[in-house]
C-alpha cells in the first residue's frame, strides 16, 4: 500500500477519480443512513403526535417523511450517476453493468439487481406516500398522522435492510477495469418498462394498507377512508395490471417458449395482490353504497399488502425455485420477520377493532349487486388460495421430506372453473340492481345471454368441442355484451335528453367512474378472448429444413432461405432467415462472448389481429440445415390490446376526477319492496 501511495504524480488523476468514486459511495450510503434516521423519527413522531393530536408535531412528522423521500431520491440519483459513469469501484455497478452494455440498459441496471430494486421500491413508496399525504388533508389530522406513521415504519424497515444487509453502495477493495454485465435475458427493451412498473406496483400497495391500518388505529371505520384508500388502491391496481401485461408481453417476446404465462412463483406472487385488490375495488362499492362489508374491505387491503411482502420474501430469499434470478442473499430472514410482524399487526388490529366493524345495515338478498360482489370476492379469494398453495407447495412438501412441484395443469384445472364463474358474474353483475333484483333484471340479462348463446352456437358449428373453450369465449362475449348494452342505454338516455356534445360530456362526466369501469370490463373481455384462443388453439411444429425448403403450420407457409452470422456491439448473432409471404422473419441465437459464451434465443414474431407466427431457431447444422420450432398463436394481439383498454378505462374513469359524491342507496331508495 505504501508503494502504491508513493506512486508517481502521473497517477494523481486516477487517484482523484477514485476519490470521486468513493465520495459518491459515501454520499449514497450517507443519504440512506440519513433517510433511515428520518423515517424512524417520522414513524415515532407521527404515531405519538396522532395519539396526542398535536397538530404542529403531526406536521413535523409528515415533513420528516417528505425528507425521507428526498434522501431516497438523492441515493437513487447517486446510484444512477455511478452506473452511468461506469464506477466499477461500487460492487453493485460491477455486478450489474459493463462497458459494452447499451447506455439505456446500464441506466436500467438501477433496478436490475437485488439492492438497487429495493432502493427503487423504497423510492416509489416515498414518492407515492408523499403524494398520498399531501392529498390526505380531508381525512383529519389523527388518521393522516397514523398513515404517515405506518408508511414511515414500512420505509424504516426497507432502509434498515438497505443500510445493514443489502446496500447498493458497497465499495470493492480493488476496482476492476470492466463490470460483469447484465444477464443477457434482461438485455432487451422490455427491461426498460416491465420491471419499473411491476416494482412500482408492488411498492404502491403499501399506501392503501397504511391508510386502512391508520383508519383502524384511529377508530375511523366509516366510509371516509374508503374514498382515499380506493384512489391509491386503484393506482396500485393500475400499475400492477400494467406490470402483469408487460411481463406477459416481455416473456412472450424474449423467452422463446411460445407462451406468456408459466405460473412461475414470481408471476404468481405478482398476481395474488392484484386479485386481492380487484376484489377490494368491487367490495369497497358495497361499503360506499350500503355501509356493509367493512371488516372485509379492511381485510382485503391488508391481505394485498401481506401478499406483496410474502411475494417479496418468496422471490428474494430464493427458497422457491423460479426462473427469475435474484441472487440468494441475506435478506430472506429480514423479510420473513417483516412478514410475521405485518401479519400479527394486521390480524391483531382487525380483531381489536372487530366490534366497531359490525354492520348495522339490513342483510341484502342473495340476488343483488351486493350478493354478486360478495360471490365475486369469494371466487377471487378462491383463486388466491389455489395460487398461494401451488406456490408454497415446494416449500411445504420440502419440510415434510419430499419436495413436490405443481405445473400449469394444476393451476389451470383449479382456477379455470373459478375464473369461468367470475366471468359469468362479470357479465350479469353490472345489470343486477342494488338491494334486490326483480323482473327488469331478467329482461336486461337477455343481451349478455344472447351474446353467449350466439358465440356458443358459432363455436359448436365450427367444430369446437373443448368445454373450457366453449365456456370461456362465450362468457367473454357475454361480458362485452353487457358493457355494450350499458353504453347503448347511456346513448339512449342522451338521445332522450336532446343529444348534443355538451350533454354527452355531462352525462359521461356524471357517471365517469362507472363508464371507465365498464371500459375496463370490456378490456378484460378482449384479453380473455385472446388468452383463451391462444391457449386452446395454439399450433406447434418442430422442423429441420434445408435452404429453400418449406414448412406449413395452420395455413401459414414459411420458407427457410439460409443462415448468416452478424457481429453486434456486445454479442454475435446466428440468424436463420425465413420468408413468410413478403415478410422475412429472422429468428436467431445470440452468443455473448463477454459473458463466458452465454447464448440465448431471439424469437421472430409476425403479428396480425388474427394470429402470431412465432419462430424459434433451435439450432443449425453443418450441412446448412436449421432446426426450428414454429408456433401459430391465435389472437395473441388481443391480450395486449385488452390490457391497454383496461388501463385506458381506469385512467379515463378516474384521473383528474373529483371525489365521487355517493348517495347511499338506503337513503336514496325509500323502500326496498315494490321498487320493480
Amino acid at each position: 500500500m505504501l508503494v502504491v501511495s508513493l506512486a508517481p504524480a502521473v497517477d494523481a488523476a486516477k487517484y482523484a477519480a477514485d476519490l470521486g468514486v468513493v465520495t459518491l459511495a459515501y454520499l449514497g450510503a450517507g443519504a440512506l443512513l440519513a433517510g433511515l434516521v428520518l423515517a424512524a423519527f417520522s414513524a415515532l413522531l407521527s404515531f405519538w403526535a396522532g395519539w396526542t393530536e398535536n397538530g404542529v408535531m403531526i406536521q413535523v412528522g409528515r415533513r420528516a417523511f417528505y425528507a425521507t423521500a428526498a434522501m431516497l431520491s438523492a441515493a437513487a440519483i447517486v446510484l444512477e450517476a455511478a452506473l452511468l459513469t461506469h464506477d466499477f469501484s461500487l460492487a453493485y455497478v460491477t455486478e450489474h453493468s459493463d462497458l459494452a452494455t447499451p447506455i439505456a440498459l446500464v441506466a436500467a441496471a438501477f433496478y436490475g439487481g437485488q439492492e438497487g430494486s429495493l432502493l427503487y421500491w423504497a423510492l416509489i413508496l416515498g414518492i407515492l406516500g408523499s403524494a398520498s399525504l399531501v392529498a390526505s388533508a380531508a381525512l383529519g389530522p389523527r388518521l393522516a398522522a397514523y398513515a404517515a406513521g405506518m408508511m414511515a415504519a414500512i420505509l424504516t424497515f426497507f432502509l434498515l435492510v438497505l443500510v445493514l444487509v443489502a446496500s447498493p453502495f458497497d465499495v470493492l477493495q480493488i476496482t476492476p477495469p470492466d463490470g460483469l454485465g447484465l444477464n443477457p435475458v434482461l438485455r432487451d427493451g422490455g427491461m426498460l418498462i416491465h420491471p419499473p412498473v411491476v416494482l412500482a406496483g408492488f411498492a404502491s400497495f403499501a399506501v392503501p394498507f397504511s391508510f386502512a391500518a391508520a383508519a383502524l388505529l384511529a377508530g375511523r371505520t366509516d366510509a371516509a377512508w374508503i374514498a382515499h384508500t380506493r384512489r391509491f388502491a386503484l393506482v396500485a391496481w393500475g400499475l400492477q395490471s400494467t406490470g402483469l401485461v408487460l411481463g406477459m408481453w416481455w416473456a412472450y417476446h424474449v423467452l422463446g417458449w411460445g407462451g406468456y404465462w408459466g405460473w412461475d412463483p414470481v408471476e404468481n406472487v405478482a398476481l395474488m395482490p392484484w386479485l386481492a385488490t380487484t376484489a377490494y375495488l368491487h367490495s369497497s362499492q358495497v361499503q360506499e353504497r350500503r355501509g356493509r362489508l367493512r371488516a372485509w374491505n379492511f381485510g382485503l387491503v391488508m391481505l394485498a399488502f401481506l401478499l406483496v411482502v410474502f411475494g417479496t420474501f418468496i422471490v428474494r430469499s430464493g427458497i422457491v425455485p423460479s426462473v427469475h434470478t435474484f441472487a440468494i442473499s441475506a435478506i430472506g430472514p429480514w423479510f420473513l420477520g417483516f412478514l410475521g410482524a405485518c401479519l400479527v399487526f394486521s390480524v391483531g388490529l382487525l380483531a381489536f377493532r372487530s366490534n366497531g366493524l359490525k354492520s348495522n345495515a339490513e342483510p341484502a338478498p342473495a340476488v343483488s349487486r351486493e350478493g354478486a360482489f360478495a360471490l365475486q370476492n369469494l371466487l377471487l379469494i378462491g383463486v388466491i388460495a389455489v395460487v398461494f398453495w401451488g406456490t408454497m407447495l415446494p416449500l411445504v412438501s420440502g419440510l415434510a421430506g419430499q419436495e413436490r412441484v405443481v405445473g400449469a395443469a394444476y393451476y389451470e384445472r383449479a382456477t379455470g372453473p373459478l375464473f369461468a364463474v367470475a366471468l359469468l358474474l362479470m357479465a350479469a353483475g353490472p345489470l343486477i340492481p342494488w338491494r334486490h333484483a326483480g323482473a327488469p333484471l331478467w329482461r336486461s340479462l337477455r343481451w349478455p345471454a344472447a351474446s353467449f348463446a350466439v358465440v356458443l352456437i358459432g363455436l359448436l358449428a365450427a367444430g369446437v368441442r373443448s368445454l373450457p373453450a366453449l365456456l370461456a369465449i362465450p362468457s367473454a362475449f357475454a361480458v362485452a355484451g353487457t358493457v355494450l348494452y350499458e353504453y347503448a342505454r347511456a346513448a339512449g338516455r342522451w338521445r332522450l335528453a336532446g343529444g348534443g356534445w355538451s350533454r354527452a360530456l355531462a352525462l359521461i362526466a356524471k357517471r365517469r367512474r362507472r363508464y371507465g369501469a365498464y371500459l375496463a370490463h370490456l378490456g378484460l373481455a378482449v384479453l380473455v378472448i385472446g388468452l383463451a384462443a391462444s391457449h386452446f388453439w395454439q399450433q406447434e411444429k418442430d422442423v429441420t429444413l434445408q435452404p429453400g425448403q418449406q414448412v406449413a403450420v395452420a395455413g401459414y407457409t414459411l420458407t427457410y432461405t439460409g443462415v448468416q452470422n452478424r457481429e453486434l456491439a456486445d454479442h454475435t448473432e446466428l440468424v436463420a432467415a425465413m420468408k413468410l409471404g413478403d415478410l422475412t422473419l429472422e429468428p436467431a441465437r445470440a452468443t455473448y462472448a463477454g459473458l463466458g459464451g452465454q447464448s440465448l434465443t431471439h424469437v421472430a414474431i409476425s403479428s396480425t389481429l388474427v394470429a402470431d407466427v412465432y419462430v424459434v431457431l433451435a439450432g443449425t447444422n453443418s450441412d446448412g440445415s436449421a432446426s426450428f420450432r414454429v408456433f401459430v398463436n391465435p389472437l395473441v394481439t388481443w391480450i395486449w390490446a385488452g390490457g391497454a383498454i383496461i388501463i385506458l378505462g381506469v385512467v379515463l374513469g378516474n384521473v383528474g376526477a373529483r371525489r365521487a359524491a355517493f348517495v347511499p342507496v338506503a337513503a336514496r331508495v325509500p323502500s326496498a319492496v315494490g321498487a320493480s
Binding site: 459515501y26 454520499l27 450510503a29 450517507g30 443519504a31 443512513l33 440519513a34 434516521v37 428520518l38 404542529v56 408535531m57 406536521q59 413535523v60 415533513r63 420528516a64 417528505y66 425528507a67 428526498a70 434522501m71 438523492a74
Partner: protein, 34 residues
C-alpha cells in the same frame, strides 16, 4: 465518513422538517417579552 455525510444531510434537512415548530410562536417566550 458515511456517518459524517448522514449527519450533514440531516443537518441540511433540519430547517425543512422543523419549520412548523420554527413558525409556531412560542407562547411562554411571547408571554415573557410582552
Amino acid at each position: 465518513m458515511t456517518l459524517l455525510v448522514a449527519t450533514l444531510l440531516l443537518f441540511a434537512a433540519g430547517p425543512f422538517v422543523l419549520w412548523p415548530l420554527i413558525r409556531t410562536p412560542d407562547d411562554n417566550h411571547e408571554g415573557n417579552t410582552a
